[in-house]
Amino acid sequence: MTLLAFDWILLIEKFVLIAIIVSVSLVIAMYETYAERKVAAFLQDRPGPNRAGPFGMLQPLADGLKLFMKEEIIPNTSNKFLFILGPCLAMLTAMMTCAVIPWGSHLELFGRHIDLQIADINIGILYVFGVVSMGVYGIMIGGWASNNKFSLIAALRGASQVISYELAMGLSLIALLMLTGSLSLRTIVDQQMAPGHLWNIVYQPLGFLIFLVCAFAECNRTPFDLPEAENELNFGYHQEYSSMKLGFYLFAEYINMFISSVIMATLFFGGYDIPFLDESTLNPNVAALLGGAALFLKVVFFIFLFMWVRWTVPRFRYDQLMDLGWKKLIPLALANMVVTGAVILWLKK
């Protein structure tokens, strides 16, 4: 009978929330591809795609259709199971991170208190890190299963880059976590919303800078897009991929970009906090919607930043990349951590 005592409405509520969040992330990733092309075009004094629909708004659909219509090639010598698993894993790990992100405070509908978060686990950031580092498997398996030496080398290059930058990213976050004292993303946002408390960017500017640089490297974005350097390194780990499997890899990159923008907004820029506004005076439903919109605006800015940097800064050489990661960012993150710890100790005494 205990089975029947389970709160079935909660299950339905979470299911609806998952469906909404996943489809919204997919749509945003879709329109990121459009935004990427538009931003690139505008920065280069071109109008960009403008034929499919008004202002070219239907371009992502046309691109998707094109990818689906392409011939699907699986190399004879490849390991078929792993070859298909690679892009699936890349897509899966990209989508899984949105489970712990607080998208807004809470709604009150039909007398129920609905948190705008799929799961508020108390190790939210650790979960994000765990899932993101699983994304390396997508790259490694894809490159390895292709049974092509160029793909394999590119996969190794990509994996070593992602692993190196994860270190500095984690170290830069430790300083932040010492401040917040919590790994739960919702608690971190609530702390930043509390009156008299500023956004974490004010306390951790260096930490944010390191996190930002590492986020660029984690998402394989220019200036760190060596794993897929199309023009000089002969594509990369997805060289043997075609049709929608290639589309999955490219799409996973855009979802990663969206998720890392959300994480940066949540950790350093107050998440769904609206600056200079006390949300507790508002109707909770209105506050939740406004908060969601605020988070969305911050995310849009970060996505634009990703693209802006891509079309400004040229690509690093591989040794420069490793040099920056290991010799610059990690010592800097360590120093940041030590200084933060010392300041916290000094202020508490």
């Binding site: 505008f42 920065l43 280069q44 004094d45 071109r46 109008p47 403008n50 802006w308 940097v309 079309w311 400004t312 800064v313």
Partner: protein, 178 residues
């Protein structure tokens, strides 16, 4: 070594200062430059809707001319074919029969007149060679086609519409050239 121009600049090879070696100021400067391009006017001409204006000396597709009464000027003398450096023009002459005076201006006319637009280099030498003012290059350029045969233009394709029966078509083919 003697400098070719006086615009040469000495390359600086001194080590970077600390500020420069951070690269961040340089990156911000670059980003400011790219950002300013967001709002610049786009020089793009949206082709099928907008068209670039040609200069008055533009040499486009050939047109075979008619005189004031709508008679063909061409006498199939072959001078244009001789002048053509790309050997794109072929023609066959025929004698005008009694009763055809309203069609052809002189006693001889071109029964067949073909220009291979894939060979043509649009140099305009045919126009210069023509003693009868029968051929000139218009403002339009060759439209695309799916096969090569479509690019061999027959006399019907080249001949300008009759001014007296189809004034609109005539004006369109004539363009703004005089």
């Amino acid at each position: 070594m003697q400098a070719l121009t006086n615009r040469g600049k000495e390359v600086e090879r001194k080590p970077m200062s600390f500020w420069e070696s951070l690269y961040l100021p340089g990156i911000f400067k670059g980003m400011a430059i790219t950002f300013s391009h967001l709002f610049k006017k786009k020089p793009t001409i949206h082709y099928p809707e907008q068209k670039r204006e040609f200069s008055p000396v533009f040499r486009g597709l050939h047109v075979l001319n008619r005189d004031e009464e709508g008679r063909e000027n061409c006498t199939a003398c072959g001078l244009c074919a001789v002048a053509c450096p790309a050997e794109a023009i072929t023609m066959e002459g025929a004698e005008r029969m009694p009763g055809e005076e309203n069609l052809y201006r002189e006693e001889k006319y071109a029964a067949k007149y073909e220009i291979n637009m894939l060979r043509c280099i649009f140099c305009g030498l045919c126009e210069e060679a023509c003693p009868k003012d029968a051929i000139y290059l218009s403002e339009t350029f060759a439209p695309s086609d799916f096969n090569r045969k479509g690019f061999i233009y027959k006399k019907e394709d080249l001949l300008i519409p009759d001014k007296n029966t189809d004034p609109e078509g005539y004006a369109k083919a004539r363009g703004s050239k005089k």
